[in-house]
Amino acid sequence: MNSSPEHNKRDYGLWQRTYVPEVFGGLAITARHFFVNLKNHIRRLIGRKDAAPGAVTFQYPEQRRPLAPRLRSLHRLTKREDGSPRCVACMMCETICPARCIYIVATEHPDPNIEKMPEQFTIDLGRCVFCGYCVEACPEDAIRMDTGILEFASYTRENMIYTIDQLLSHETAKPDAQDTQ
């Protein structure tokens, strides 16, 4: 009959087992939340800016949550001063990527001091798992995931494939890091 393990049993005192006082305790808590929040809502409504918010809700999409600085968002390729990609097409990221979604074609760099540069640099975000390994593996700090762009859902798989031009055009998110769109 009573098959529940010993540690699942709880010792309720008589006070708790009568249930009624506990019910009223719970009702007091929820009622307090109700009245405090209602007061704050009304104070905000009549224009008291100093009032505490009546709800913890973020009104997405008009209002966005602050992003953690370490959040991994959409990739971007960083640039040198002259605007060419910092990437040297070493294939580290392509190699480490567990989802195998990076595709790089290397080419000669016009500057003899720099060995190579990517001709194509494609990331299939439909397959990316946002592990951030590519960022960590890169010896040149050429790829980062700090754009703060979170909404890039698409109706087709093709639209999820980002080419080098798109990746180079992404900007870093602003330091106060509201996620942008």
Binding site: V23, T30, H33, H41, A55, V56, T57
Partner: protein
């Protein structure tokens, strides 16, 4: 004659519109109240087909378009009848359910008797001398709708829901009935208007010199039992195991569209009926404490009705507060609660009331 008919028509319209309107409003209140209780904002996105001008913004922000959107959705949804269902009973069930919930309010008075055109009238559809019994009879008939729904759906989950609803209704109705006997003993009447009038003690007849003789003060134990059993009778959380959406989905699992909406409305209407009954029996009905009008003028009658509506609204608020605070009882817990806690306590309440009555009068 004409006046009588006019009064009757007015009362029926007023009460009907009050109950239906409040039930519609309660769907909104439930959304917003639960949101405010839980530090959320709640529904605020529905607008008029994308038309969102500035002057309607406050209404949209308050989510007042959502009940309209709900109604529209329910009307437009496909009204599906499962192929194996008993069609006649399946279609009948929601009407039975909401019908009995709606007519229950007929016996609850909004105001004291007043004289209009030489006739005595009151804002009450049916001033009957067995008002309390009538409400119980009608409320317990409501279970037929629920049980028929479960039975006619030819769905085992719905069937389980119907059985649970019947079991719950039995244990709740008995506790309600017995808990009310204390009130009847105290005020010596079965007519709700009479009971309210008896709570309206005169200035020199106040309890301990300052308390009005409301049911909640004369019958505190009866009040708690009645409220608990009343909430059980509305089939809402914490006593919603006829529905139990996370385990059996409930007696209306096969219903869609407006028929489902009728079941949903039934719950709200029952909430209003229980709230009205509580207000009338335990909170002094239309009675305003420390206010003793010389005679029933129009202003007094309107004030009484407003006070009564305020009390009903408060009780609705309280019941929604309960609904969003407590988790659902398990089936056996609810049964044990009804039969082994509420019923014995209600019986004890009767004995206590009897002793008090003898002590006070003797």
């Amino acid at each position: 004659m004409i006046i009588d008919i006019a009064c009757a028509v007015f009362n029926v319209l007023f009460t009907g519109l009050f109950v239906l309107g409040l039930a519609g409003l309660l769907t909104w209140v439930e959304r917003k109240q639960s949101a405010v209780m839980q530090d959320r904002i709640g529904a605020n996105r529905a607008d008029l087909f994308g038309w969102d001008p500035k002057f309607l913004r406050p209404i949209r922000r308050l989510g007042l378009f959502h009940p309209i959107a709900d109604g529209l959705k329910m009307i437009l949804k496909e009204d599906h009848v499962p192929p194996n269902a008993n069609k006649a009973l399946f279609n009948l069930a929601p009407f039975v359910s909401i019908f009995f919930a709606l007519i229950a309010f007929a016996a609850i008075p909004f105001s004291d008797r007043f004289v209009v055109g030489g006739h005595e009238a009151a804002i009450q559809v049916a001033p009957m001398n067995v008002g309390v019994l009538y409400i119980f009879a009608v409320l317990s008939m409501g279970i037929y709708g629920v049980f028929l729904a479960g039975y006619a759906s030819k769905n085992n989950w719905a069937f389980l829901g119907g059985i649970r609803a019947s079991a719950l209704m039995l244990s709740a109705e008995i506790a309600i009935g017995v808990s009310i006997i204390g009130v009847i003993m105290t005020y010596g009447s079965l007519e709700i208007g009479e009971i309210v009038r008896a709570q309206q003690s005169s200035p020199d007849d106040l309890l301990l010199g300052f308390l009005p003789k409301w049911g909640i003060i004369m019958q505190p134990l009866g009040f708690i039992i009645f409220l608990a059993a009343g909430i059980a009778a509305t089939k809402r959380i914490p006593f919603d195991m006829p529905e139990g959406e996370s385990e059996i989905i409930g007696y209306f699992v096969e219903y869609s569209g407006m028929k489902f909406g009728m079941f949903m409305m039934t719950d709200f209407v029952e909430t209003i009926v229980i709230a009205g009954l509580t207000a009338a029996l335990f909170l002094g009905g239309w009675h305003i404490p420390y206010f003793y009008p010389e005679q029933a003028t129009a202003a007094v009658v309107i004030l009484q009705a407003l006070v009564f509506i305020l009390k009903v609204a408060f009780m609705c608020w309280f019941m929604i507060l309960v609904r969003w605070t407590l988790p659902r009882f398990r089936y056996d817990q609810a049964m044990r609660f009804g039969w082994m806690a509420l019923l014995p306590l209600a019986l004890v309440n009767i004995v206590l009331t009897g002793i008090m009555k003898v002590l006070v009068s003797g």
